[in-house]
Symmetry: C2
Subunit: 232 residues, 2 copies
Amino acid sequence: MAETTRAWRTVLDHLERELGEGRLGPGDRLPGERELAARLGVGRSSVREAVRVLDVMGVVRTATGSGPSAGAIIVARPGAGMSTMLRLQTAAQAFGVDDVVATRVALEVAVVGTLAAAYDDTHLAPARELLVAMGDDALAPEEFLALDARFHLALAEATGNQVMLAVMAGLRTAIEDYVRLGLARIDDWSATGARLHAEHTALLDAVASGRADAARTCVADHIHGYFAQIRP
Amino acid sequence: MAETTRAWRTVLDHLERELGEGRLGPGDRLPGERELAARLGVGRSSVREAVRVLDVMGVVRTATGSGPSAGAIIVARPGAGMSTMLRLQTAAQAFGVDDVVATRVALEVAVVGTLAAAYDDTHLAPARELLVAMGDDALAPEEFLALDARFHLALAEATGNQVMLAVMAGLRTAIEDYVRLGLARIDDWSATGARLHAEHTALLDAVASGRADAARTCVADHIHGYFAQIRP
DNA sequence: TGCTACGGTGTGGTCAGACCACACGACGAG
DNA sequence: CTCGTCGTGTGGTCTGACCACACCGTAGCA
């Protein structure tokens, strides 16, 4: 029952402990790969595997060269890591589109409920701007959907909840291809775009006026409606 | 502005494409590291970095030796990957405990709402068993919390939504240390345990009888109440 | 005095090669 | 027919080497 710990696991555990106990924090630089290897008694390649994991997960950012901006720097970018992960899990068929959509609805419902209850109009400015931008009839479907994604993320960002923001960004990324392919199933885009815009407007109105229940219903119907339309 | 693609990124992109286009799926084995390196024209260490990422994310499982169970096998274990990721993000101070808890509430509310609406009692058996187990007054706090975690995950699992299950597992893991440390803030554990158990019972009753609104309120109060109690 | 060009230096990025532990599976001995 | 053994291919790890890059001190020049 030896269960020998892998060398890269040693490094990852070490770095996680350093992070958790506050010896490393956002903006700090990790020790150099060579030094870390020597300190932990492992090879440099093992250190690199651990650092690569942190890199892809959006915990650190690596850069070559010298000076303050080089090396592995701790930078909280959870949205990127979450996107990569959920995209891979979806590609590996661990997640189904329906489950992703249902989870997204659950979070969006919570987001608009929170915003409506907080009744803090100042944070809604970015969402309003995106709403205006989406009112342009000349937008191509892909452009509209890109703005749509930013609109929903702007709502999440307005709550200030970094976890919800990251997860929602990841969920959106995971089904990006599915959504793009779904465009082909929409016969009359101009009607659809107009409907989506009207739903966005109603949603933001409900949020801004503090009607939480109405906002929750709006957003759930909005998302479910669209995915019902593009479902094969 | 060359933006040379990293060798490991080449490998990761390749594998993601193979997964997404169905050439690789759950249960399949990845090509050997040496072969993959030769095929993509990169070094073996670069292949290993990419595979390590998939490993930690719970997309593949690696094993030494020979035979059908050896090598890198695609195995959907999203909960493990999500746990690692959220734990690291929390350690790196990208996520705050309050945000994690709020997200967990949002998902749990959706879970119990779904279950109450579905009114499918058969899937609730695991949760019922855990509820009974938690009724034991002799349980140590740590044991109770372990069962509590499994109880909430059992509810998520009853919905069949793999995404919610994975994210909830990850959220729970991310604040595991916080919860454990929080035990010290509870003066009278026996009273707290009894209250939690009563809340669990009421929650499951509401779900089983189809009272969705009651279930939602129950679970939100349940979680918020506990974390308000252990908040410093 | 000031500025410019240049090389030193240390960082991550990558590769090649070697060796190890391991587990399966074929094959030979009994 | 059974059992032990050894070949073989897998991932795991280390070492050493080289590269590209970005900073920064410094020497040289104006």
